[in-house]
Symmetry: C2
Subunit: 215 residues, 2 copies
């Protein structure tokens, strides 16, 4: 096997170059960073380096998508969907699994979730069909036919990101959910705790005025 | 198997948490970054994620240290040590394999190398015995006995990093190499190309005066 076909000693040997290329594919890992991480893995013990390889393998073997909420899970339905203590009349729609973690961490919400796995972004070729929207509609249809008290979905909270793609996704969902007899809400926009008025962008200021509340 | 022993939905499931922990061990990868990388690997295809795992495994299986220069290689001796076109009378001592790549890239040097795999750093518990110094002395002993013209080592260039640890390592090597009838040099210190005089540190300015040269 010819591992260094260029015969150029200023390029790394093939097993090193291959690992560098794979690390460089990760988001936010530039070529210099990939090189540094590679040589770190070269220098640590076999055991330590293979622990990372095995963790990747284990994660891919053990994680699936919850057939109800589409969040990543190791059992179906996931721990949130199967939790009898949660409010099953409300679904919070988020873009990514990490958003579920953040909302759970805040303890602000005790209903169910639905993970879209992205946001509408025509520039990146992501339309509604690339997201888990069909699965959300199936959940609404099933709930419609349910006779179990408290299991009928009454509210959908759109909690997509407050950016262009997230807003576009929320608008789209709001439109396709309008035929349903369901309350559709979105998270409040306003000043962030700890922020400063003078550094707050205009759109946020406008929205915090529009949404002002009585003491 | 209980993958989520806390039963807390704000902590990630076990296979995800394990991968996060492994990625967090890498240098420069903080907890937030480890989380982001993990969820990236969750979202990509099995094939794509396992390519990284396999690249780590392949690198660990295929790379060894060259028995002569201690650089990482996939064959022993490495392509540099076995290159008949290189000047075998000179050894450039560097801290890490990445330093060899950088020097090879510059095409400034055509002799052999010796990789120490670190620098003396008492604060981190790294003394001379933790470095590949013994192996360097063995090379000198072998060369001493060699009758092959041009294979006798005549110069050692100390190319450790120009920082505290690198300087300490160079000083130490200079001392233990003094009994040998070998020229011991170090790389020049001075202004960096493209730099500005007013932003150059004092030590570098002093050294660039000391090392000033005729046109």
């Amino acid at each position: 096997m010819n591992f260094n076909p260029t015969g150029n000693s200023s390029s790394p040997i093939a097993p090193v170059a291959r690992l560098m290329a794979e690390l460089h594919k990760l988001p936010g890992i530039g070529p210099k960073n990939a090189q540094r991480l590679t040589y770190h893995l070269v220098s640590v013990s076999n055991e330590e380096a293979l622990a990372l390889a095995k963790a990747i393998q284990f994660m891919k073997e053990q994680t699936i998508l919850c057939s109800e909420c589409m969040n990543i899970t190791d059992r179906d339905p996931c721990s949130i969907c199967s939790d009898q203590g949660r409010d099953k009349s409300c679904i919070c729609v988020v873009e990514e699994p990490l958003d579920v973690l953040a909302l759970e961490h805040s303890r602000a919400y005790h209903g169910l979730y639905h993970v879209l796995h992205g946001a509408i972004s025509p520039g990146n070729g992501i339309g509604p069909d690339e997201l888990r929207i069909r699965e959300l509609l199936v959940r609404l249809e099933v709930s419609e036919k349910s006779y179990l008290i408290g299991h009928k979905i009454q509210e959908i909270v759109l909690a997509t990101n407050p950016n262009l793609e997230g807003e576009a996704t929320a608008m789209y969902l709001h439109r396709i959910l309008s035929p349903w007899d369901i309350r559709v809400t979105h998270l409040a926009r306003g000043l962030t705790t700890g922020g400063e008025l003078q550094y707050t962008d205009e759109t946020t200021l406008v929205r915090s005025f529009q949404g002002r509340q009585e003491f």
